[in-house]
Amino acid sequence: MTSKNNPLPNAEDLLKSIASQLAPSLKANTALVGIESGGVWLMQRLLNLLAKPIAQYGVEHGTLDVSFYRDDYAKRGLKSENRPSQIGFDVEGKHIILIDDVFYTGRTTRAAMNELFDYGRPASISLVALINRGGRELPITPQISGASISLDANQHLQLVQNPDNTLSLMLNVSET
């Protein structure tokens, strides 16, 4: 219903937008870190779209699965599927650019930052989100995002990866 009145932006367009916003931030001593799973899909695409500056500055990349750092573990437990985090570079002194799909409460970002600090002390951390859906609960906000929309709590915005590797956004509404 909502999606008809207020059509969702096209994920591929948003991706291009964050790629062009991100390009100037890529410099030496920078690393991209995708948050499982949507953030990792985005990062893979960004590695492609920004291949030139990434190679030029030797930008490193890695992935985080923040399951072990979430603040709702006591309530929800572990999800049935989790992937090992893969940070193959030295975090110490790096400018880290976190990549997530949908920015909502900020709790995932907090978990990701906590995990990153267990790898080392980064020089800085910034956040790129494909879309900011509003509703943050912490003093955290993306520095770069493709679009900002405002959704209700019972609306769930999700990034999906299509079989041809393109991305799209999906909106589900739960009964309240």
Binding site: F68, A74, K79, S80, E81, N82, P84, S85
Partner: protein, 322 residues
């Protein structure tokens, strides 16, 4: 059938034995452990999952390695850990198991890791604790040692990921081994097509074939073309009477030597749950050799125990993330 290990919704509440664990949960434990292996490779080998929880290691029977790895696992999950060598304290004063447990619950313990010489001890405790308490069996009598079985599966999967294509031999004192039982259940559940047990008749339980294994009394024949050799410890302390002529004799017939290992596939791996009797069931040159994965088993044991504790202690609804 009532399986006390699982909640009404089928998620893990206690870990008591591999027998009765659905394949889905088994795989979930192995996959989760994969993530914890990565944690151990970092500078800060700790995650905050069990912050504020208290884990009690209740060891009514001694075991340095198992107790240490459970302790390390709990600490890497940020839990507070108390290790009680119960044999040496309350039990000798006549306190019952349940009294010991209830006292620890009164001290706000959240999880018990139980090792006992009596089969069924962990089940017994699990049956009597309140709903928010979790119990892990760290070995009960001859019955079961599920985390050992799980870490063995994890190790096999690491080196030989194609489980549905493997030939696995379990060699030695199957009769007294809770490890062997856990291994056989796990291998069967995960779809390993050929499981062999190699042992003298006196060290095999009656009707062991019913577990779906092929029995060999001749070691050379049993080792032929296997991918995995799982050695068992000769459990001298559990033997009564003369089941064996002598340990030297045993080594001659069932000891794993380089020459015997050569009968297995050239890339076969050698496992042993420890502690090893060098020169009794395994030759030192094999134990320390290129095909041995005995020390990686110990390392993976920590990740497996972290995974089990993490799955037990959290809310268990399978976790939608927001």
């Amino acid at each position: 059938m009532n399986n006390p290990q699982l909640d009404a919704d089928g998620s893990l509440r206690h870990l008591l034995s591999i027998d009765g664990l659905p394949k889905k949960i088994l795989n979930q434990i192995l996959d989760t452990a994969e993530s914890f292996v990565g944690v151990a490779e970092r500078d800060v080998k700790k995650v905050p999952l069990l912050r504020g929880k208290t884990v009690c290691n209740l060891f009514f029977e001694n075991s340095t390695r198992t107790r240490t790895t459970f302790e390390i696992a709990a600490k890497r999950l940020s839990a507070d850990v108390i290790s009680l060598n119960v044999g040496a304290s309350s039990q000798s004063k006549g306190e019952t198991i349940l009294d010991t447990v209830n006292n620890l619950i009164a001290m706000q313990a959240d999880m018990f890791v139980v090792r006992h010489a009596q089969s069924g001890a962990a089940h017994f405790i699990a049956k009597h604790v309140p709903a928010h308490i979790h119990v892990i069996n760290a070995g009960d009598g001859r019955h079961s040692h599920p985390t050992q079985g799980l870490l063995d599966m994890f190790t096999i999967r690491k080196y030989k990921p194609e489980l549905h294509n493997l030939r696995v031999a379990i060699v030695g004192d199957v009769l007294h081994s809770r490890v062997a039982r856990s291994e056989i259940h796990a291998l069967t559940t995960l779809g390993v097509p050929e499981i062999r047990v190699i042992a003298p008749k006196t060290l095999l339980p009656t009707q062991v074939e019913k577990l779906g294994v092929h029995v060999f009394h001749n070691m050379d024949a049993g080792l032929k073309d296997v991918d995995v050799v799982m050695m068992l410890r000769l459990q001298n302390e559990r033997m009564n009477g003369a089941m064996l002529p002598s340990t030297q004799e045993y080594f001659k017939t069932y000891g794993l030597t380089q020459a015997r290992l050569a009968l297995a596939k050239p890339d076969a791996i050698v496992m042993h749950p420890g502690p090893m009797n060098r020169g009794v069931e395994i030759d030192s040159s094999v134990a320390d050799g290129k095909q041995s994965v005995i020390l990686p088993q110990v390392t993976y044991g920590i990740a497996i125990r972290m995974a089990v504790m993490a799955m037990l202690a959290g809310g268990q609804n399978g976790g939608q993330t927001s």
